[in-house]
């Protein structure tokens, strides 16, 4: 069974903290994605990566960075967390021209 695993289901952080969200996939997929999901706004793409060390900005990259040092792992970094980054974060992976598989999500609360 295909698997995308996010390191935490729930996370509470303080304003100004540096936050790391980790995502690991076991399908040898080239593409990996980070989305955030908010009520009324749907799924919005933050960053995606189509190969190791390669990344491209999505629609809302401000306040975020990413790292992909190994093919199976894609990290989302909040350099200085703010309350408006409280959200559900979803990681996904896909092979070229195929469907994406999602992790279970991380619900991040910044206080």
């Amino acid at each position: 069974d295909v698997k995308v695993t996010q390191s935490s289901r729930y996370l509470v952080k303080r304003t100004g903290e540096k936050v790391f969200l980790e995502c690991v996939q076991d399908m040898d997929h080239e593409n990996m994605f980070w989305y955030r999901q908010d009520p009324g706004l749907g799924l919005r793409l933050i960053y995606f990566s189509y190969d190791v060390k390669m990344k491209e900005k999505g629609d809302i990259p401000e306040g975020y960075s990413v790292s992909r040092e190994k093919k199976e792992r894609f990290s989302l970094i909040l350099e200085s967390a703010s309350t408006n980054q409280t959200s559900m974060y979803l990681c996904a992976s896909s092979s070229h021209n195929t469907e994406a598989f999602f992790g279970q999500g991380t619900r991040l609360t910044v206080v």
């Binding site: 706004l41 793409l45 999505g58 629609d59 021209n97 195929t98």
Partner: protein, 111 residues
């Protein structure tokens, strides 16, 4: 710019009452259109991929169809367990392989 609009935003049906969900899209060269189901607090789960106008895919009580500008998800004789948010995501054949999601249709099936 790629755009996708789903309607209605929310739909409440009685068990056994068939209906359709709409996904209207504008993309530069459609590579494929994906349908997902999402339960509360979970990541989206892949349902179908459609590649060309006229194509249809079926799974249990769900059938997805595709035209050049729209996709429909038909639900026949739904059951309460079909209650979920349904998301569509067209993928452009130009440029990077990112997925842009619609805001989803929240479907509730009452017993």
């Amino acid at each position: 710019e790629d755009q996708v609009t789903q309607s209605p935003e929310a739909l409440r049906l009685q068990e056994g009452e068939s209906s359709s969900l709409n996904c209207s899209y504008t993309v530069s060269g459609l590579r494929g259109l994906f349908w997902y189901r999402q339960d509360p607090g979970k990541g989206p789960e892949f349902l179908f991929t459609l590649y060309s106008a006229g194509e249809e895919k079926e799974k249990e009580r769900l059938k997805a169809t595709l035209t050049k500008k729209e996709s429909f998800l038909h639900i026949t004789a739904p059951k309460p367990e079909d209650s979920a948010t349904y998301l569509c995501a067209p993928q452009s054949s130009l440029g990077a392989q990112k997925l842009v999601f619609g805001q989803g249709t929240r479907l509730t099936i009452n017993p």
